[in-house]
Subunit: 235 residues, 2 copies
């Protein structure tokens, strides 16, 4: 049912990584996959939560629609990341909507299956809690970012997360379009453009969807700066 490569990706996911192989496989055997087109909805906020999802490829965004139609992006996930764990067990409705932002393939795991297996194998509960914790941690980090960093600093942080290396220079490909990056960072696309300009002073060059960072350490220092630190003027 699942292709070999799908299995490999799913097993790497936090959700399954800590489980013994036999257990992971017996869950994965009962899971299904589905492809989504760019822009297609996976679920809407308010839908009854019955499944847990694991991204096999492509990108999926989770977002909240406000009463007035504005959207607040809450997470953007790619290969190996799961979502929906906690809510599917709390038996409620999804508090966010999910949409494929590129063509994507997702693994669906019905919560009821896991729920049944959980009685025999309590490790499952811990695996799910680990995933849930990861989400909590991610949200807390986002809150901190929003409350304590300027737009340009958030952009710097975003770029640094994409860097493999810890120092020196590096070139990265922006993983999805700038409109979405702006949403993820809680700003308007216009402000993202301006933030990129501002980062030029820190040795960052953007062209098309490539970002070149001249000095990772320098950028990291910029990102960590106190908000009220214009002593050293915008260079």
């Amino acid at each position: 049912m699942l292709e070999r490569s799908d299995l490999a990706i799913a097993r790497e996911a936090v959700l399954f990584a800590s489980l013994p192989e036999d257990l992971a496989d017996s869950i994965l055997n009962r899971a299904t996959t589905r492809s989504y087109r760019r822009g297609e909805t996976v679920f809407l906020q308010g839908d009854p939560a019955e499944s847990i999802f694991v991204v096999l490829n492509g990108w999926v965004k989770l977002f909240r629609l406000t009463s007035t139609g504005a959207e607040a992006v809450v997470g953007v996930f790619t290969k190996g990341r799961s979502f929906g764990e906690a809510v599917a067990f709390a038996g409620g409705a999804y508090p966010v909507s999910a949409e494929a932002v590129t063509d994507a393939r997702l693994l669906h795991v019905r919560a009821s299956i896991l729920s049944n297996m959980m009685s025999d194998r309590p490790e499952i509960a811990k695996a799910i809690l680990s995933s849930a914790f990861r989400h909590l941690h991610g949200l807390v980090a986002q809150l901190e970012q929003l409350k304590a960093h300027t737009g340009a600093q958030r952009v710097a942080e975003f770029l640094l997360e994409l860097c493999e290396r810890g120092s020196g220079s590096c070139t990265i490909t922006l993983p999805y379009d700038k409109t979405l990056i702006a949403g993820r960072l809680g700003m308007q696309p216009q402000s993202l453009s301006r933030a990129f300009n501002r980062l030029e002073a820190q040795g960052v060059k953007i062209s098309h969807n490539q970002a070149m960072i001249a000095d990772i350490e320098r950028l990291r220092e910029y990102m960590l700066q106190d908000r009220s630190a214009p002593w050293r003027k915008a260079e």
Copy 2:
């Protein structure tokens, strides 16, 4: 060990509410309580997470300290609310710090106890997941607030959450000091003051730690307004 009134509060908490009474009690029998003075630290971000906490009375804030010493408040909890569920099982370190903001009493439940019991009684896992989901939902709501609402709107939302009634007028007591309210809403105390002033136009009066809302519906409408809606000028 636990007083009768403590038991009653703990049983109401999301964490225990869904559990059969015998199970809840056997957990609570193995839990301890402790009192904290105003300002006392419960744990620090980075501490190994061994316990889950339930607030019995008083108020506790969860916050993150940035590298530069700024703090970002991530939650403020009172009677019946629990925290630390997910992380205690993921076996990691607390990603936030916790501090009593008033004199407070907390129930401590060692994660290892729950962990052991979980094998026999899988309902426990679901109770914990429900609590974790509640936190997730709360954080998502905060993100939406920050990204989509102005300061004054966030204050309005905060006040409305404290209202029991759904319409008409109401008077509420601010549950903790304004500095903390400002932190919880992601703004400076000065900005909170200004926001209160702005809300006067919406029929909100603040004196000392009392807030009088003349018309709940009106305030709710104000809070729901699109950010880009100054067509009807700031009245």
